[in-house]
Symmetry: C2
Subunit: 441 residues, 2 copies
Amino acid sequence: MATSAEPSVPHATTVFTGPLHQVESYLLDNQSVIESWFRNQWRLTQAPFYASVDIRNAGFKIAPVDTNLFPAGFNNLNPTFESLCIQAVQLAVERAQGNADRILIIPENHTRNRFYLESLATLRQIMEKAGFETRLGSLLPDLHEPLVIELDSGRPICLEPLLREGDRVRVADFVPDLIVLNNDLSAGRPVILENLAQPVIPGLGMGWSSRLKSVHFTQYQQVAQEFAQLIGMDPWLIDPMFRNCGEVDFLKREGSECLSINIEALLKAIQKKYDEYQVTSKPFVMVKADAGTYGMSVMTVHSPDEVTELNRKQRTRMATTKEGKKVTKVIIQEGVYTHETWGEQDMVAEPVIYMIDHHVVGGFYRVHAKRATNENLNAPGMHFERLAFADCCISPEKELPPAAHPNRFYIYGVIARLALLAAAREMVSTGQLFNRLSDTT
Amino acid sequence: MATSAEPSVPHATTVFTGPLHQVESYLLDNQSVIESWFRNQWRLTQAPFYASVDIRNAGFKIAPVDTNLFPAGFNNLNPTFESLCIQAVQLAVERAQGNADRILIIPENHTRNRFYLESLATLRQIMEKAGFETRLGSLLPDLHEPLVIELDSGRPICLEPLLREGDRVRVADFVPDLIVLNNDLSAGRPVILENLAQPVIPGLGMGWSSRLKSVHFTQYQQVAQEFAQLIGMDPWLIDPMFRNCGEVDFLKREGSECLSINIEALLKAIQKKYDEYQVTSKPFVMVKADAGTYGMSVMTVHSPDEVTELNRKQRTRMATTKEGKKVTKVIIQEGVYTHETWGEQDMVAEPVIYMIDHHVVGGFYRVHAKRATNENLNAPGMHFERLAFADCCISPEKELPPAAHPNRFYIYGVIARLALLAAAREMVSTGQLFNRLSDTT
């Protein structure tokens, strides 16, 4: 892809008090140690095929708040760094399935979500440019013919009905060597993909039908502790605290006591850390479906009372997630303020980092005008602008201050890789790692 | 690094007759097959740590004319794609020495070549950003203290005296895990680097004290034949023919008969191919030192008589190469016209492609005003401008015509990788491959 004019970068505001850029300094000063540690970690644990990580930067604290193992949004990345994605895909496929030539992507069933389809077209394009024949096999139940959709970018995209014969799937006469899931399986594990001779990555067990945010953040907590010990910092500076409730029924108002107790305990714990770091902002927590995705069933809470005072509409919204799945398990996560703003209207900007295998390949900001700094920008019906990162996240400049763009992006890349490592360990702990073939010899 | 305004790209002129863009079309139409083939080749043969390849594009023919396993010129690459270099170095080191944290670069002894030192500073910077502690261990015989040189780019560079203790080398108290040669060993194999416990890449045997261009191009011929058969094209379209003479003494005028006979035979063979493809240009050959480098001892020859009619100055120039080494072995290579020109003065532009492990990471053009299209641009005392590639060489655009920039650069990346594969096989055939450790598991 051609280079483009340099995009602007959001401002790091200083409305929140606390030790600014302390995290950045810790991380930048220890770059060699950190990279060495990561190299060792990836030797111990194979990274997921790809991932995107939502990050919140509160100035005094930088932490991941969501790790998506079936990322969309590839169309929002800076085209300047497409080559980085191409190179990383070549490596990721080589590691996953040494002799794969033909790849089948299993997309989401959102045929009317133009943003998603643009991302899918970009993902397919990256794989094609990486030298793999790539086609799209759809799980849409009523698709019997190839469906061609013309996108706003002018690219046509072709969804083909997924067929199974014995222990192999195909589309038309195209029998893939490797199947890449870009569907988070919120609707459950599709029978057509079970027990295939072809490798499926990420594994079916990494879909939201099996995965729990609380399992991920338990792994992340462990990763953050090891990492913080390595460079001598307080793990809280990169780790959002959380608690979870196992049995909640928002509609029947069951389990709200568990929620209240945990919210209160978590708010107190946050306040204690805020006091320690002289942060004067008001603590808040995010209440989310433990198996949720897409920012559904998410609410911002400042006091335990807010949960008991939910009206019918709010309870209904919390009660179901994507694909109409009922929410019973809930995670209560420390809210992390957003410290970056964009444009003259000081719109809130939140970074999303993309990785392929263990390589950071870029990111973008979600920029939203009307939301507050403590609200979730990835929520249904929300409107946000996408602002591609000006930098690639892997090129820190030691001569520049910690908050300079290349350094800020590098830090985001470090935090995102910590979340990626947590996801990698999650895969191992849940037995979801496909058999990795030996590498090139 | 930040993005920059889009650089311009040389024009592909049409002054030479012949089947234009036929090579490009063959290669673009077969992208998936080609990439699959390369993947398989890299599984069979480990690529060198890094390389640069000089390419000539005659329109009807695109071929490598020199493969450098100790590349300089990293400072001439487009900073936009620095991230691609960083990612590739991470992989190359991982493949070469899985648990390396500290790297020592052994540079050339050119302390007054500003261009070389800028390249060295860029190479070191790439490795540092890739997360490796990197220092420079100099072979300069009279260096006893660290030598700091301030470069025009404002970067200081520090050359430290290389020390040996037992079977390990170090600089000061820095004991490297891996030694990367950026010195082509024209002066011979340094004793201080023999039989080390630390891996040295590329191997000492790949220096010009051991290597012969004729061995490389014999390997390339084989690679080009396999590749051409794969996609059904004439290998000549990507392969420069050559012959060699084993015993030539330019000063004593010995061996000139061998030269004349081979030049005549090669010119006839080229004319035959020109006739076959209706190319009306005049055939020419390049006479080069078989163990030469740096464009020394190179001459353009259109007729066998030119060699016998050399004057004393020309003979002296041909007789010695870098480090004053005497030329005895000579390679006579088919000359490939340069088809690309740059700027209003139609300056000749010749591409150089860079690779790290088997990943193409960019390139630049040597642009020279006063040379003809059949002369060697990489010659002593020559002046050329460096024009960074606008594209990354790994992102072909199938919707665009074969000669569009991204496609032209992709083609160069394919040709360069063919030369890289020849070098990889050369390493195996000469037993120079260091013991590769097993990859991450």
